[in-house]
Subunit: 291 residues, 2 copies
């Protein structure tokens, strides 16, 4: 028995699908079934279900996008920091292995020498960074609290995309945005992400932080071009002349844009496809599903 | 009408006493009366009471001391970060002035040139500091969320002491501890602190961050000597040979020790006594109360 929290969300559903495809039995309580901010409620459920491991896919990333987390600070804090804090206390004490969906959006840019950030680099887009978003701050705070746990694996997701049209899917977003910002990013194919995360718990790799992104980095214009080439979108994409113009839109907060190394995860034997290859596979699949 | 949150705690009672001595009408709901983590509950109470201003003295500093906050991370986060986050959202939107009891324990040491930290210095004992306590992190996170509020005054308290024997009183603690650590700190006489904070709201000084400490700094050995000189304690105080020895005690977390400038508050016309003078006054008063 596996316990999946947040299993009805965008990321959680990818976990649910992967668990199902493996034939694994799992429970995915809704918010109504479980108040995950309550240590007592979590301890009771874990005591009853006795899960082999727990997956935390609860999180708040804003609606329609991350800008709104600035207006929903307590909700964002509760979902992104309090819940992992409670899980860390209950599950570490009970020695139950668990994985937590974190975010690579606690980094901006790349290391001074231009190489990708590794898990040994301290987040540079959170904490004392004056322009860090509240979202990034809450995710980084959760990593701080879980860093001490002997049973927690932290999975850093970045800009999820897959072959299903969805308001949270990076590819859907790009097709809907009026204008795009040209940036270079490490991103995560969502099905590959969920598969890798579950594999990490099944194989019992050492607990700790892992960047779970497709190796390499990709520019917005490359993704836009691929969307046109695969016939999924025939519009001419417009780009902001600069990040300053992008940020000049009222209510907009600075995004983290960064390149992450997934070498630490790969060293455990768990790999994701190179990012351009993963995008190509995803767009072909999308095209097939459409036709 | 004034709304005092956390009015039954150690710091909150000092606020309650000061409000009473001014003949001001206030409500001090208990935890049972108000769930201060709920935006709806806070908005309802503020809508009903229509307070002139709100004082937030809710906070968790650990029992018997700050070490225990490491074992009570979700409780500490909820009291110290979620509550101010909720208040910031509700009270800023409703344009209600409010004050929040923060902590100077988000700094360690002094500025590179040896001068006291001012409110313009970014906290250096929180966020990415590897040894910062969870307590300091949660207090700093609250300051981050309240920094944007146009109606919030942040009051930084440090190591409260007064003339009443209490487990939270710095003087009581020193008399009970087996061994002391010699450090140099800015500290806050609690009655003076509460008076200055209420004065800041009554006078409507500009919202923002204020260090509310007694001017100057004092060494542990100076306080210990004064306790003996005033006849409040006749034991010979023992000191740890070094901070390393102090921290070698299992479960002990590093304390913030720092010197803060209270010049910004003083510039508004609100002053506290010089720290040695405040200690002397407090110990004389304690002696009188005892006899």
């Amino acid at each position: 028995m596996i316990l999946l929290l947040g299993g009805h969300g965008y990321v959680g559903q990818a976990f649910a699908n992967n668990l199902q495809s493996r034939g694994l039995v799992f429970a995915a309580p809704s918010h109504q079934d479980l108040d995950a901010t309550s240590k007592d409620a979590v301890a009771r459920m874990v005591g009853t279900l006795k899960p082999r491991y727990v997956i935390n896919a609860i999180g708040y990333t804003g609606r329609p996008n991350i800008d709104s987390t600035e207006q929903e600070k307590s909700l964002t804090l509760t979902a992104n920091t309090t819940v992992p804090c409670v899980l860390g206390e209950v599950l570490t004490a009970q020695k139950v292995p668990f994985g937590h969906v974190s975010s690579g959006c606690i980094y901006d840019g790349s290391r001074p020498d231009g190489t990708p950030f590794t898990e040994n680099d301290a987040p540079n887009f959170a904490f004392s960074h004056p322009n860090a978003s509240w979202y990034s701050r809450t995710k980084a705070m959760a990593e701080t609290v879980l860093a001490d746990s002997s049973t927690c694996t932290i999975w850093r997701l970045r800009i999820p995309f897959d072959q299903f049209d969805h308001e949270r899917n990076y590819l859907t977003k790009l097709m809907r945005y009026e204008r795009l910002l040209e940036v270079n990013n490490s991103i995560s194919q969502l099905q590959e992400f969920a598969a890798a995360c579950i594999e990490s718990l099944e194989r019992r790799i050492p607990p700790g932080i892992y960047n779970v992104t497709n190796p390499g980095a990709i520019r917005t214009s490359e993704v836009a071009k691929a969307l046109r080439q695969h016939g999924l979108c025939d519009r001419e994409f417009q780009f902001f002349p600069s990040e300053e113009d992008f940020l000049a839109v009222p209510g907009r907060v600075k995004r983290a844009n960064c390149i992450l190394s997934s070498d630490k995860l790969a060293a455990t034997g768990i790999t994701l496809r190179e990012v351009h290859e993963a995008l190509d596979w995803t767009l072909r699949r999308w095209k097939m599903l459409k036709s």
